[in-house]
Symmetry: C2
Subunit: 350 residues, 2 copies
């Protein structure tokens, strides 16, 4: 609350109503970050999992500039668009993308209904646990896998399948639910941005309908602020009821140059802040960097093999090479997980 102190001695018969109203209003204002912005300082550190350093300072300096009414960098609330990659930026993407783990689990679960899979690639490799064999199948194998596990059902059915899986599947190394392998510093950053009037979008190569069932409880990001890859869906009447059928055909890959295309199509505004961690995020960062007003570009660098994983140029998942070179050349903020974060994952519920 900064310097603001409130003293009220209402003289009317409505004192309780007024007190309640003021309390509610005040809470709304505090939540909206207006008081903090007006007071020009925060009494609590909004991002305690970030160590003091250049990365944290760059973020808070940028946000102060953007929300500071009358400052040269002021950006109105409706234009405070922040976009975040998901895999490797908001949650762990090792030892494989979570959605791939989901697809492999689905192949195992569906195998009894598809006996031919025991002799048919890429399913055979999945069923015997030969991930190298799966990788050797390349994009074609990946597409077959996605179509066999993500299509041929309604959107409502797929949502139930995802909800069931995400409620119990665990990351193999940390033995946590995948939704508990999210980065605590990024949760704090998302909340800090929203408290300062930003709208926080996910812009991920992952499937949009794979993410939406859990992004709100996990990140506070509602369905309409999740952008991702899509497969074709078709409106059908089934027994007099309309359904949307998920078809075995790719619609849009929200990765690399697809990210700015999707941002433009869905949001229609250029982000002023973007965070990624791989070469698949480069074009989104470039698109953000080309905006006319203030803008912030950040890359998460996975350099902490002890607490999470260390990888960049040679990783199968989340390869980071060219984007890191561009970031260095342009002075974008590169976040070292090892040095900039004092905590990786959120505490587990008791």
């Amino acid at each position: 609350m900064g310097d603001l102190q409130i003293g009220i001695a209402p003289a009317s018969k409505h004192r309780d109503a007024i007190g309640l109203l003021c309390a509610i209003c005040l809470a709304a204002v505090v939540l909206s970050g207006s008081v903090r912005a007006a007071a020009g300082q925060a009494t609590l550190n909004p991002m305690p999992s970030w160590n003091d350093g250049a990365a944290a300072a760059a973020i808070t300096t940028f946000v102060s500039e953007v929300v500071g009414q009358g400052r040269p960098g002021f950006v109105p609330r409706e234009a405070r668009i922040a976009v975040f990659d998901n895999d490797g930026t908001l949650w762990t993407e090792q030892p494989m993308y979570v959605q791939l783990a989901f697809a492999l689990d689905r192949v195992r679960a569906l195998a009894p209904q598809h006996p031919q899979w025991r002799s048919e690639e890429p399913f055979k490799s999945v069923l015997v646990g030969n991930l190298k064999g799966l990788a050797a199948g390349g994009e074609k194998a990946a597409a077959q896998l996605v179509m066999a596990t993500h299509a041929g059902m309604s959107t409502a059915q797929f949502e139930r399948i995802v909800r069931d899986w995400i409620a119990s599947a665990r990351q193999p190394r940390f033995k946590r639910l995948y939704t508990q392998c999210v980065y605590q510093p990024m949760l704090e950053l998302l909340a800090y941005l929203r408290a300062n009037g930003f709208t926080t979008y996910i812009v991920s190569g992952g499937g949009v309908e794979f993410m939406r069932p859990w992004t709100f409880p996990t990140y506070g990001i509602p369905p309409e602020q999740v952008i991702g890859s899509t497969i074709e869906t078709r409106f059908e009447m089934a027994g007099g009821q309309p359904i949307l059928m998920r078809l075995a055909a790719l619609d849009f890959v929200d990765d690399g140059p697809g990210k700015p295309v999707a941002i433009n199509r869905v949001i229609g505004l250029r982000p002023i802040l973007a965070f990624g961690n791989s070469d698949g995020d480069l074009e989104m960062l470039q698109w953000t960097a080309a905006g006319p007003g203030p803008h912030f570009m950040g890359l998460i660098h996975h350099d902490d093999a002890v607490r999470e994983y260390a990888y960049d140029r040679d990783s199968q998942f989340g390869r980071l090479d060219q984007a890191l070179r561009v970031a260095d050349a342009k002075g974008w903020t590169v976040v070292s997980m090892k040095k900039d974060w004092n905590t990786i994952f959120p505490p587990l519920p008791h």
Copy 2:
């Protein structure tokens, strides 16, 4: 404000700050509709351009139920999704879709750079004002027209072209700007819904980038709440700067069965209120009607040849036949422009 009366006699030295804060807070609460919801009644009619009748009553009854905390039909704010067709639902679509008028004007403007158009269909028909000849070209001619006038430039260039055109082009019969040929009762409905915590989306067969430059000043609907048809765009670096190029290829037609598909892809939530005016809106209305909680489906029926236009089954633009039969059978709300609206267009600025 209902019964609430506010009297404050602050005793502290902070009286001005408190007064200001309370005023701001109160304004926020009023804008959010909470006070109205709490008081259970409005002292001002939020939709003065609607005549008393079944249509207006159905809308206000639905909204009261949805926002009434503790009522069986209560819907939390984040799920109050309302979708509106645009052409014929929010603004006039006669004597032709506004975007078609834009395309014809663009052909005329670009013709000097394309001398071959004088002998090449569908451009020849456009240039000599032979709209029957254009219509005879069917979908192929329409696609050629769109691609020649809507593609081959960056998204930023197209936005400027649209802004310039919409600022001066006029509807031929009413001699108003097209953005002044919007329906005043629908502006009031949009504002009423937003004041009650709804998010109001446009879901139109029109091009999303044709609409976004003017939907916020016209309807209060920001870019990210506009869903429409799209053409392919491609991320390119041009002189070191990233641009999005609009390509001469259709991406998605947001009409008929495409509407629920797009709603699912972009919003990821099922609407609880939908308004349309043509058969192209039927699937969107059916999708809304199939929701598990309370839902409202409305059709605007253009039956006022004196003040606007009268058309349905046989119209070239905004044909309404099957959707009207389904609406009658299912008891959806059919709004008669003639009987339900006492005003059609907003007053012109002085």
